[in-house]
């Protein structure tokens, strides 16, 4: 079991998106224009961390003056604090290899993107997310706040370099998980009790219900979409619902484990509502037909559910609804202990 866990973590940390970075036309000052730059973007990494090598490649063609670097995909300015793998899973309905991005060195869209001052901003954003995740899991941010400067630096370096072993050296001390079905927070004292096979009841406050840090990115696509590749591209961030909301682990009646479906149902109730009224809305004819047949209406409700959620993607993998949610959270989370989930839903808007 531990070996499988290790394998999953290595794959997540080793995952990368091939990028083909084009210099924005208006920023080109050389003739002929420079060829695009091919590189690998680590799934758990961030675009601004690639700026130094990208800049080096385009240096001869850049205009003089101060650079304000930002990235764009099909007209959409990319949020620099979202991990590269998540951006790719969210914005490329049909994975594009390599992923063609445009890099700009001028005209930072500060009404859409918060400012980014290179590595420092990214590090701050990472540490901030880690603190938030720690608060969610344990009820306070102490373990992160109490980290020594040296440890913080080493942790960040490990993330930047994709060094899983280096990361684990420090992260294990934070005692953040793993998440378990009984939903109890494992603090240092409860661990000792468990290991000693203690019969003593856990001291009050140590068995707090555990929460899982989750970040959902809900993209609306055409309701009648059959092939995911036909999804219209995301033109603005208003059409993506970003939901930063923890999932509280609670035992489910009649179930031995929490499914991904159950977790998403809790976090996105509207897209999973299965009441008859919802079925009627989408298919008025069904509402008028025989409603006294309970098996038929539940079948329609299932169709309703399936119509709404088109795709669930985590770390580039399309997940089934039945998969144990906590396995996903434990094995496919990012280095800041957040699980990022991209959900494509059919909405009437498009």
């Amino acid at each position: 079991m531990a070996a499988a866990h290790e394998e999953a973590a290595r794959r997540v940390w080793g995952g990368a998106v091939p990028l083909q970075v084009h210099l924005h036309d208006a920023d080109v000052t050389a003739f002929p224009p420079p060829p695009p730059f091919l590189t690998l973007g680590p799934r758990i990494g961030y675009l601004p961390l690639l700026i130094p090598i990208i800049k080096a490649h385009f240096s001869n063609a850049l205009p003089p003056g101060v650079d304000t670097v930002w990235f764009e995909y099909k007209g959409l300015p990319l949020k620099w604090y979202v991990p590269i793998g998540v951006l790719f899973d969210l914005l490329c309905a049909e994975p594009e290899r390599p992923w063609n991005l445009i890099v700009h060195f001028r005209g930072y869209p500060s009404e859409i993107l918060s400012p980014c001052e290179g590595e420092d901003s990214v590090k701050w954003s990472y540490m901030n997310s880690l603190k938030e995740a720690t608060f969610i899991i344990t009820g306070n941010s102490k373990s992160v706040m109490n980290m020594s400067q040296a440890d913080q630096i080493a942790l960040w370096e490990a993330v930047m370099k994709g060094n899983l072993d280096g990361f684990k050296n420090i992260s294990t001390r934070l005692k953040l998980g793993p998440f378990e079905e009984d939903g109890l927070v494992r603090t240092a004292s409860t661990e000792r009790q468990r290991q000693q096979g203690s019969d003593e009841p856990e001291s009050p406050g140590s068995g707090r219900p555990c929460r899982v840090p989750v970040r959902l990115y809900v993209r609306g696509v055409q309701e009648d979409l059959e092939d995911i590749e036909d999804a219209l591209p995301v033109s603005d961030w208003e059409s993506v619902s970003y939901i930063n909301r923890p999932f509280e682990i609670r035992k489910v009646e009649g179930r031995s484990y929490i499914t991904l479906e159950h977790a998403l149902q809790t976090l996105l109730p509207e897209f999973f509502s299965s009441d008859a009224q919802n079925a009627e809305e989408l298919d008025p004819a069904a509402g008028n037909s025989d409603t006294t047949d309970p098996s038929r209406s539940s079948q329609e409700a299932d169709t309703t559910k399936k119509t709404k959620v088109k795709l669930i993607r985590v770390q580039g993998i399309e997940l089934d609804m039945d998969i144990p949610f906590l396995w996903v959270a434990n094995n496919l989370k990012n280095p800041e202990y957040y699980l990022h989930v991209c959900v494509y839903v059919g909405t009437r808007k498009q």
Partner: protein, 217 residues
């Protein structure tokens, strides 16, 4: 489990406290420059929501310090004095800044968070430095001295754009201390949460909260 005794707030309590604040604000006498708080229902999960939303105080007008600089700049040559006066009068009518304050519930920290944005009269957004110039000196003091209040720029949870916010990580710690003051019933403590919280964070951003907000009607 958390809750008001730990300085945190459930979503239900937040909504209830918000509704109580909106109601109470209308009852008390408030400075003319302050508009009313409104509740903006908002749902991210695809449908209408009765519970989910945020509090908004929009269109708070502030005179800004810019006019001072204008006088000094133009006061150098005697001949330009008359022009300077005209310039000052003209620029002061443009030197009104408009602030929007939103109180948004943080699911992660189970506390409210203050988001704010400021505009010039031409609609141009203010930078953090420009906002700090507007703040009274005691606000600046709070910001620089307290390790618990610092302003960052983050994406507004409902409006998808970067807004300024006061970092929430220590909120439950100081709210716990603040609420310990009175021995009141749990329900009443929940309702008092937002006015109490607002009186503290308001200090950091120069938002004066009338004392009557804390008293029962």
């Amino acid at each position: 489990m958390g809750g008001v005794g730990h300085g945190t707030l459930s979503l239900d309590s937040f909504s209830a406290s918000a509704a109580a604040l909106v109601k109470r604000w209308k009852e008390i006498e408030v400075d003319d420059s302050l508009p009313d708080w409104t509740w903006k229902p908002c749902c991210k999960t695809g449908g209408p929501s009765e519970l989910e939303g945020y509090l908004a105080l929009e269109g708070v007008y502030r005179d800004c310090g810019g006019s001072q600089e204008q006088i000094q700049e133009n006061g150098n040559s005697d001949g330009a004095d008359i022009v300077a006066c005209d310039t000052w009068v003209q620029s002061s009518s443009y030197n009104v800044h408009v602030y929007d304050f939103h109180v948004v519930y943080s699911y992660s920290y189970k506390v409210p968070m203050l988001y704010f944005q400021a505009y010039r009269s031409d609609g141009q957004l203010l930078t953090l430095d420009e906002i700090k110039q507007d703040l009274p000196s005691d606000s600046l003091k709070v910001l620089s001295e307290s390790k618990w209040t610092f302003i960052t720029r983050e994406e507004h949870p409902y409006l998808c754009r970067p807004w300024f916010t006061l970092h929430p990580c220590a909120t439950s710690d100081w709210m716990k201390l603040l609420l310990e003051e009175g021995k009141v019933a749990y329900e009443e403590q929940s309702l008092r949460y937002l006015p109490a919280w607002l009186s503290v964070v308001g200090q950091a951003v120069g938002l004066k909260i009338p004392l009557e907000l804390h008293c029962r009607s």
